[in-house]
């Protein structure tokens, strides 16, 4: 029944599968639990950083275009103001003199660079009155020009940038004035290059590019000058509404080549032109991308560290749990074994007494018959000697019964172990001397490996001898039929005497291993073993606070290991009586 309980106890032991599942759970919890909040927090921080970064970019872009608008508008208004001052300070009479006009143009170009391409005075019929500049075409007429009509209507004009086959890109600025009741117009061409320079300054100063487009989709300045992308495309792409003349826009667009750009637009020249500033999204968001990459690397490194750490920790913890389970299992088995021994011991004590009494009666009856045979009347009996032999045999067998019960009782009762000092190698040698004939007969070779500097032991000598004798004798019995090799080793390992008795005999079947220390369990033929030898060994080793362990493989052999606590300073306890 106890064996059944032991088997059930073993079946209840966690399996490797259980430990693997436990490790997986620990790993999952150990990695996921710290990583979820970390990823969440990092995600929130990154999201907020991105929003804040985008807002900052938007502000910067809007500032760039507003600043650009201001500077271009300022440039145009200044140039317009220049010719206005000229028209106001100089009389029509003076200005109609081409030499005077040439001189004025020279001075303007000296002061403002090549922005002023020419100067022209036109009468109210749209006919040239005077001209100073590089293109000297006589009798120039302008009445059909859009700009002329506009200047006559509004008093001043700043045209789009145009260019002829011979003319470099330029825009026209003109003012309407009155002299002696007649209108006249002062016109100048402003070099388009000045606008290009301004837009380049806006772009280059901010690592992007800037260009100016009129409402018809024609590029006025910038790298794409002269290209007309079309009004519809302009409206769709830049999102400019018909009639819209104010406002700043910020957006992202991907062009036909698949390049993503960030755009900012605003209006200039009173809504006639649109200043566009753009920058590659990859450049704009490079800082954010770096932050994201850094955060990702940090998360990965932390994740890796957490994972590695958790893996190592889980492995250690599972190994410890496994070890603790094993120890618990071992303790349970030992508890069962001890319990079995105690139960059997009590039973043995009772049986011994019950057997000894009837055996005592048998022996006494035989003794009485023997007494009677001594009387004279029986001396002539023919079978007198046979009677005496039979009675002697009864008495002998009675004594044998007594010895068996004595063994049983030794197994059961408390014993005072006599602790003595002795040399282990001598003890082993003596046992081998006793058993070497048996070994030789069975073709068994005995090897010993005893630690050379093994100290003198102070332990219950007789009992240890009994244990070793039983183990060695059992090993010889196991190899009796086929012979083999017996190894006996002894070492002092960390305050423990460790003795191993190994054979390469037939081994013990796995199903028998849990029972080998059970009293009366034997695999020897009937009458050859009592099944008490290993139980007694177990009891003795346990009483010495030691451990006895067996490892066996069928057809490979068996190793018994006993481990008994021993300290060298224990020599001082020599010959003390130790009650165990």
């Amino acid at each position: 029944m106890l064996n059944a309980l032991l088997l059930r106890l073993k079946k209840g032991m966690p399996t490797d599968k259980h430990y693997k599942a436990l490790m997986k759970s620990m790993l999952l919890i150990g990695v996921v639990v710290p990583l979820i909040p970390m990823v969440l927090v990092s995600g929130i921080i990154l999201y907020q950083s991105q929003a804040s970064y985008e807002k900052e970019i938007q502000t910067r872009f809007e500032e760039i275009v507003q600043q650009g608008t201001k500077s271009i508008d300022h440039f145009l208004k200044e140039r317009l103001a220049d010719i206005n001052i000229l028209a106001d300070t100089c009389s029509f009479e003076q200005l109609r003199e081409e030499s005077f006009l040439q001189e004025i143009l020279r001075k303007l170009r000296t002061q403002y660079g090549p922005a002023f391409s020419d100067l022209e005075v036109i009468d109210d019929e749209g006919l040239r009155v005077a001209y100073a500049g590089p293109v000297k075409s006589a009798n120039a007429r302008h009445p059909g020009s859009g700009w002329y009509q506009e200047v006559m209507n509004t008093g001043h004009v700043i045209s789009d940038v145009t260019s002829g086959s011979d003319d470099p890109p330029h825009l026209i600025m003109a003012l309407r004035k009155n002299w002696m009741g007649k209108d006249w117009v002062l016109r100048t061409a402003i070099d388009g290059g000045a606008l290009n320079t301004l837009s380049e300054e806006i772009g280059n100063g901010n690592n992007g590019s800037a260009f100016i487009i009129n409402r018809e989709g024609q590029y006025q300045a910038g790298p794409l000058y002269g290209i007309n992308s079309g009004k519809d495309i302009l409206m769709d792409f830049l999102g400019i509404k018909e009639g819209q003349k104010k406002g700043t826009a910020f957006f992202q667009r991907t062009n036909g080549a698949g390049n993503k750009h960030i755009y900012a637009t605003t209006f200039l020249k009173e809504g006639d032109w649109i200043l566009v500033y753009r920058q590659r999204a990859s450049e704009v968001f490079s800082g954010l991308r770096k932050t994201k990459t850094t955060a990702l690397v940090v998360i990965l490194i932390v994740g890796l560290l957490v994972g590695t750490n958790t893996l190592s920790l889980s492995k250690k913890m599972v190994a410890r749990i496994q070890q603790a389970d094993k120890e618990k299992q071992k303790q349970n088995e030992q508890m069962f074994q001890t319990g079995k021994l105690a139960s059997i011991g009590e039973l043995a004590a009772g049986i011994a007494h019950e057997i000894n009494n009837p055996v005592a009666i048998m022996v006494e009856e035989a003794g009485w018959l023997d007494d009677l045979l001594e009387e004279e009347e029986f001396q002539e009996t023919v079978n007198l000697e046979e009677f005496k032999r039979a009675l002697m045999q009864i008495q002998t067998q009675g004594k044998r019964c007594k010895e068996i019960t004595h063994k049983l009782l030794n197994f059961a009762r408390r014993t005072d172990f006599k602790v003595q000092s002795f040399e282990l190698k001598d003890m082993i040698r003596n046992i081998i001397v006793i058993l070497e004939k048996k070994a030789k007969y069975s073709d068994i070779v005995i090897h010993t490996d005893i630690q050379k500097d093994l100290p003198e032991l102070t332990l219950p000598e007789t009992e240890l001898q009994q244990v070793l004798f039983n183990l060695i004798n059992n090993a010889l019995d196991a190899m009796e039929e086929k012979g083999g090799t017996l190894f006996i080793t002894a070492r002092l390992i960390e305050d423990h005497i460790v003795i191993q008795v190994s054979d390469n005999g037939p081994g013990i079947p796995k199903e028998d291993l849990p029972r080998i220390f059970d009293p009366f369990f034997t695999t020897k033929p009937i009458g050859k073993g009592t099944g008490l030898g290993l139980s007694i060994c177990y009891g003795i080793v346990k009483k010495m606070s030691g451990e006895i362990d067996v490892r066996s493989m069928v057809n490979e052999g068996t190793t018994f290991t006993i481990k008994i606590p021993f300290k060298e300073e224990g020599k001082s306890k020599r010959d003390d009586s130790l009650e165990i």
Binding site: A352, H353, N356, I361
Partner: protein, 135 residues
């Protein structure tokens, strides 16, 4: 060897009967008792008993209790405890309580005789000693 007067106390009737016959054959005077109380009563009547051979394990009053009663009454009679070994601790306790010796069943008759002889001698020495003591 002068006459030895002993009492055999054991609840095992066949053992007592056979042992009695064997001891009587060896010129010992033997009376028997099968219970502890009976043994004490007989001891009261036979104050000159030399040795009581007392089984430890008996139903009712066991050997240890009988021994205590004997020692309490200051009888000089010596006691040899007999045990089936299962109660060896009790036999040892008997020794501590003043029993002369103990034997394990089944015992050798010669060994028993030797112990009876030794016990008788001690009992008689005690008697001599007691007689020599001034009142």
């Amino acid at each position: 060897m002068s006459e030895r007067f002993i009492m055999l106390v054991d609840d095992e009737v066949p053992f007592v009967e056979t042992m009695t016959k064997r001891l009587e054959k060896r010129n010992l005077t033997v009376i028997t008792a099968y219970e502890g109380q009976e043994a004490l009563e007989k001891l009261e009547r036979h104050r000159n008993l030399d040795v009581v051979i007392l089984d430890v394990k008996m139903p009712g009053m066991d050997g240890i209790e009988v021994l205590k009663a004997i020692k309490k009454k200051n009888f000089l009679t010596e006691v040899i405890m007999l045990t089936g070994h299962g109660t060896m601790e009790s036999a040892m306790e008997g020794m501590r309580l003043g029993a002369y010796d103990y034997l394990m069943k089944p015992c050798d008759i010669e060994q028993l005789l030797a112990k009876i002889e030794e016990a008788t001698n001690r009992k008689r020495d005690s008697e001599e000693e007691k007689r020599g003591m001034p009142r």
